[in-house]
C-alpha cells in the first residue's frame, strides 16, 4: 500500500506546481521554474537509459534537437496544432533512438566510452543534416506565430505548465522503470551485461526500450523548449552543452535513483540562473566545472547514491536474515519426467576462434537427472562448450538440442528461460546489487520468471540452501571467494533450471569447503536438477558423477562410466603426458 500513498503525494506535488500560475507569481519566477523543470525532464529522461544501464549517452542533444526541430517545422510550416507536434516530436526522437540503438546495441562488447563517443558523433551528423536541408536551411526557425492551447491567459504560463507536465512525466517514468522488471534488468546490465543475458535478461530489447523511452521524453521536452525560446538555431540546439549538463546533473544528483537527476538539475539550474550576467556568468561556468570535478572525486555516486549508502548502513544493523528465514519450504522435485531420457544433446558442435578450433566436433548427451562430469586439461574446450550451450558463443556448426529445442540460434536469455543455468569459474556477481537482489534477479528472469515478491522469497530460500542467508543485505564485495562461489550457485538455482552447468565450482576452495560443496551438488541433483559438472578435482568428480566425458583439443576423447574412463590410455596421456603413461 505504501507506494499508492507515494504516488498520490507525487501527483499532488505536480498539481501544486501546475496550479502555481493562478497565484500570479512574478514572470521571472515562472521562467526560472520552467528552466528547472526543462532540465529535470532532460536529465531524468537521460537517466532512464544511461544512469540505470550504464551506457552513458552523449547523444541526448540529438534526441532533444530532433524534438525541437520537429515541433518548430511542423508548427510553423504545416501549422499543425502545438500539442500534436509534441507527440510527433517525441515519436520522431524515439524513432531516431530506436534506429541508433538497433545498430549500436548489436555491436558486442561496445565499451561505455565508445558508446558515449558514438552518440556524440550521431549528434553532429544529425546537426549537419538539419543545417543543410530544408529542415533548417541555415538561418533558423522562428516560432513567434505559434501559440499553445490557452491553459492560462498568458502564453508564458502555459509553456510553464507544459514544462511541469513533461518533467513529472519523466520523473514518473523513471520511477516506474526503476522498480519494474525493466529497471532491474537495466541495473544488472550496468554491472555485467553478459551475466545478465545468461540469467535471462533480454538485454538487447531492454536497452532498446530504455533508449526509446529516454529519447521520446527528450523529444517532447525539446518540442516544448522550441516554443519557449521561439527562435531555434542549429548551433544552439545541438550544442555540446546539452549532453554535458544532463550528465553533470545526473552524476551530481545520483544516477542510480530516479530522483537523483532532478536534484542535480535543480541545483545546477539555480546556480547558472544566479550568475547570469557578464563577469559572473564566466565565474558560474568555472564554478560548475569545479563542482563537476569535486563531485566525481569525492562523491562518485552523487547525492542520492551517498544518501542510499548511508541508508543501507543504517538499515543493515538489524539483519534481514530473520525475515528471510521465515519462509522455509522444500521444493519438491519436478514430477512427471521420465528419468534417464536425454535432456541435452550436442551433435558435432564446432567453434573456431581465428583458426584455433576450440570445439572440433563435440558430440555428447546428458540424461535427465544425472550428473555428467566434464573433464579435460586446461584449454581443452570445457568452458567454451559451456559458453556455447548457454548461448554466449554461437557454434559455427552442429546442433545443441535441449528438451527438443535447438539452442544454436537462440539468444542466451531465451536459453535461460528454457531452463538452462550456469555458474562462472571466476564468480561474476552484480557488484552493485545486494546478495539477495543478485539471486532475486535470477528468479525474476530465469526459467522461474517470478514476480518481485515471489522472487525475493525464492532468493531467500536458495541463500539459506547455500548458507548465505544472513549475508542477504550485504554487497558481493563483502564476501570471500568461497561465499562468492556459493552465491553463483544460489543464483543459478534460483532460475529453477532443469539443467545447471557448474563451471569449476570447487577451484580455489579448501578441502573442508570442497566437502560442503560436494554435499550441496548432490542435494541439488536429489531435488531433480540435471547437472553438468566441470572440474579438475578428480576426487570430487569420481565421488559425484554418474558418467564422465573427457575433452582434449576440443574433441571428446572418452566417455562412459567414470571408473572405466579414467583408466583409458589416451585419457591418462592427455592429462599426464606420454612419458608418464
Amino acid at each position: 500500500m505504501r507506494w499508492q500513498y507515494r504516488a498520490a503525494a507525487f501527483v499532488c506535488v505536480a498539481a501544486v506546481f501546475a496550479a502555481l500560475p493562478a497565484f500570479r507569481p512574478p514572470a521571472f519566477v515562472e521562467s526560472f521554474l520552467y528552466l528547472v523543470f526543462f532540465w529535470v525532464a532532460l536529465a531524468t529522461s537521460w537517466n532512464v537509459l544511461s544512469g540505470y544501464s550504464g551506457y552513458f549517452s552523449f547523444g541526448h542533444g540529438a534526441f532533444y534537437g530532433t524534438g525541437t526541430y520537429a515541433t518548430a517545422v511542423l508548427a510553423t510550416r504545416y501549422e499543425i496544432p502545438f500539442v500534436w507536434t509534441l507527440l510527433a516530436a517525441g515519436l520522431m526522437a524515439a524513432l531516431l533512438g530506436v534506429v541508433i540503438g538497433a545498430v549500436v546495441f548489436r555491436v558486442r562488447r561496445l565499451r561505455g566510452e565508445l558508446f558515449a563517443l558514438l552518440t556524440l558523433a550521431v549528434t553532429y551528423v544529425v546537426a549537419t543534416i538539419v543545417l543543410n536541408t530544408r529542415i533548417d536551411g541555415g538561418p533558423g526557425v522562428f516560432l513567434s506565430g505559434v501559440s499553445p492551447p490557452k491553459l492560462y491567459p498568458n502564453a508564458g504560463s502555459t509553456i510553464y505548465v507544459f514544462g511541469v507536465g513533461i518533467a513529472f512525466a519523466s520523473l514518473a517514468t523513471a520511477w516506474a522503470v526503476q522498480y519494474s522488471r525493466l529497471g532491474r534488468g537495466l541495473f544488472a546490465i550496468h554491472d555485467d551485461e553478459d551475466v545478465a543475458e545468461v540469467l535471462g535478461v533480454p538485454t538487447f530489447r531492454f536497452k532498446l526500450a530504455a533508449l526509446a523511452l529516454s529519447s521520446f521524453l527528450a523529444g517532447v521536452a525539446g518540442g516544448i523548449h522550441a516554443l519557449f525560446v521561439t527562435y531555434v538555431t542549429v548551433s544552439e540546439t545541438f550544442a555540446v552543452t546539452v549532453p554535458v549538463f544532463v550528465i553533470l546533473m545526473s552524476v551530481l544528483g545520483g544516477a542510480r535513483h530516479w530522483l537523483g537527476p532532478a536534484i542535480g538539475a535543480a541545483f545546477i539550474t539555480a546556480l547558472s540562473y544566479a550568475f547570469v550576467s557578464g563577469e559572473s556568468a564566466v565565474a558560474s561556468r568555472a564554478l560548475i566545472g569545479l563542482i563537476l570535478i569535486l563531485v566525481i572525486l569525492f562523491l562518485p555516486h552523487g547525492v542520492m547514491g551517498f544518501a542510499a549508502s548511508r541508508w543501507r548502513l543504517f538499515r543493515q544493523r538489524p539483519p534481514e536474515s530473520d525475515r528471510v528465514a521465515a519462509t522455509p519450504q522444500e521444493r519438491p522435485a519436478a514430477p512427471g519426467r521420465a528419468a534417464g531420457a536425454v535432456l541435452l544433446s550436442c551433435d558435432n558442435v564446432r567453434l573456431g576462434f581465428r583458426g584455433v578450433q576450440a570445439l572440433a566436433g563435440v558430440s555428447l548427451e546428458v540424461r535427465e537427472g544425472e550428473i555428467l562430469g566434464l573433464v579435460g586439461p586446461n584449454g581443452s574446450g570445457k568452458s567454451t562448450l559451456v559458453n556455447a550451450i548457454s548461448g554466449y558463443y554461437r557454434p559455427d556448426f552442429g546442433r545443441i538440442l535441449f528438451a527438443g529445442e535447438d539452442l544454436v540460434k537462440k539468444d542466451a536469455h531465451r536459453i535461460a528461460r528454457l531452463g538452462v543455468a550456469r555458474t562462472y569459474q571466476i564468480p561474476r556477481p552484480f557488484l552493485r546489487l545486494s546478495i539477495l537482489e543478485n539471486v532475486a534477479l535470477a528468479a525474476t528472469f530465469g526459467a522461474a520468471a517470478l514476480d518481485r515478491k515471489a522472487a525475493h522469497r525464492e532468493a531467500g530460500h536458495w541463500l539459506r540452501f547455500v548458507g548465505l542467508a544472513e549475508r542477504s543485505p550485504a554487497l558481493p564485495s563483502e564476501l570471500n571467494l568461497h561465499q562468492r562461489k556459493f552465491l553463483e550457485l544460489a543464483r543459478a538455482l534460483a532460475c529453477r533450471p532443469r539443467l545447471v552447468l557448474l563451471d569449476e565450482v570447487l577451484s580455489g576452495l579448501t578441502p573442508a569447503e570442497i566437502t560442503s560443496a560436494v554435499a550441496l551438488v548432490r542435494e541439488i541433483r536429489r531435488r531433480g536438477t540435471t547437472i553438468v559438472f566441470i572440474e579438475h578435482n578428480m576426487r570430487a568428480v569420481l565421488e559425484l558423477v554418474d558418467s564422465l566425458v573427457v575433452l582434449n583439443y576440443g574433441e571428446v576423447i572418452a566417455q562412459g562410466l567414470p571408473r572405466e574412463v579414467v583408466r583409458q590410455q589416451d585419457v591418462v596421456t592427455a592429462y599426464l603426458g606420454a612419458a608418464h603413461a
Binding site: E113, L117, A121, V122, T128, V240, G289, L290
Partner: protein, 283 residues
C-alpha cells in the same frame, strides 16, 4: 565540378589541417591508449597554449621561438601535475572524461576572463608568407605545422618502439600489474607520458595561435573531429593518428570544395560511426 587548381589547393589545405588534427590527436591518443584516461582538457590546454603564444609573442613582443621554449616545458610540468591529480584520486577511464571536462570548462572560463570572448589574432610577418608552386600556393607556416606533426608522430612512434622507456610503457598499458612485477614503475612512466602529451598540446597551441583567429568557444570546435581521428587511428598509435588525421582532413576539405563547407562534419563523423560499429575491437 571545381577546377583542378581548386581541387589541388583543397587537397593541400586538407593535408595541412590533417596535420593539425594529427598533432592535436597525438597527445590525446597517448593518454587514452597508455594511461586509459580520456583527456578532454587536452583541447583546452592547446588553446591555453595558443593564447599564451598570443600574449608572449604578440602583446609582449617576444620572439616566437622563445615563446615556444617557455610554453612547451611549462606545459610538460602542467601535464605531470594533472597526471598526479588523476593518480592521487585513482580516476578511472570514464570518470576522467568528466573530470577533464570540468577542467576544460575552468580553463575556458579563465581564458574568457583574461582575454575576453573577443576574437584575437596574432599578427606575425612570418605567419603569412606563401610559396608558389605551379598554380598552387603553399602557406609556409601551415607546411611547417604539417612537418612538425609528422616529425613528432614518427619520433613518438620510434620512442615507444625502440627505447626502454617506450617498451616499458607499452608493457604497462597491456598489464600494469605484470609490468610492475617485472620492475616497471608505472606511476613515473605515467607522469612522463602525461607531461609529453601536454607538451604536444603546447606545440599544437603555438601553431593554432600563428595560423588561426582565437576565441574561447573554439576549444569545442575541433573536439569531435579530433576524437574521430584518434579512434580511426587506433589508440596509442602515433603513426595511425597522423594517417587518420590526413584521411579526415583531406576528405573534409574535398567535401568543402566539391559540395559545400557546411557538409564537412558529416564525412568525419560518418567515418567515425562506421569504424565504431564495424570494427569496435580495434580500439
Amino acid at each position: 565540378m571545381p577546377s583542378a587548381t581548386l581541387l589541388g589547393q583543397s587537397l593541400l589545405s586538407g593535408i595541412f589541417i590533417g596535420g593539425l588534427y594529427g598533432l592535436l590527436g597525438l597527445g590525446l591518443s597517448l593518454s587514452w591508449g597508455y594511461l586509459r584516461l580520456i583527456n578532454l582538457a587536452h583541447f583546452a590546454l592547446a588553446f591555453l597554449g595558443a593564447y599564451l603564444t598570443y600574449q608572449l609573442a604578440g602583446v609582449a613582443g617576444m620572439h616566437i621561438l622563445l615563446a615556444v621554449l617557455i610554453i612547451v616545458p611549462a606545459f610538460f610540468v602542467l601535464g605531470v601535475a594533472m597526471q598526479w591529480l588523476f593518480t592521487r584520486f585513482s580516476v578511472g577511464e570514464f570518470a576522467s572524461l568528466l573530470v577533464s571536462f570540468g577542467m576544460t570548462v575552468i580553463i575556458e572560463s579563465a581564458i574568457q576572463w583574461l582575454w575576453t570572448a573577443d576574437m584575437r589574432k596574432l599578427q606575425l610577418e612570418q605567419g603569412t608568407v606563401s610559396l608558389q608552386v605551379g598554380t598552387l600556393f603553399v602557406p609556409v607556416t601551415e607546411a611547417l605545422m604539417f612537418a612538425v606533426a609528422a616529425a613528432l608522430s614518427v619520433a613518438t612512434w620510434a620512442w615507444l618502439r625502440f627505447t626502454y622507456v617506450g617498451k616499458a610503457m607499452r608493457a604497462s598499458a597491456e598489464n600494469p600489474e605484470i609490468a610492475a612485477a617485472f620492475g616497471v614503475d608505472h606511476r613515473r612512466l605515467a607522469l612522463l607520458l602525461s607531461g609529453v602529451a601536454a607538451a604536444y598540446a603546447g606545440v599544437a597551441g603555438t601553431f593554432v595561435a600563428v595560423i588561426y583567429t582565437l576565441s574561447p568557444a573554439q576549444i569545442f570546435a575541433w573536439m569531435g573531429v579530433v576524437f574521430a581521428v584518434v579512434i580511426l587511428g587506433g589508440l596509442g598509435n602515433p603513426l595511425g593518428v597522423l594517417v587518420a588525421g590526413l584521411v579526415i582532413g583531406v576528405s573534409e576539405s574535398m567535401t568543402m570544395a566539391v559540395i559545400a563547407p557546411t557538409w564537412a562534419p558529416l564525412v568525419s563523423f560518418t567515418l567515425l560511426i562506421l569504424v565504431l560499429v564495424l570494427r569496435p575491437d580495434r580500439i
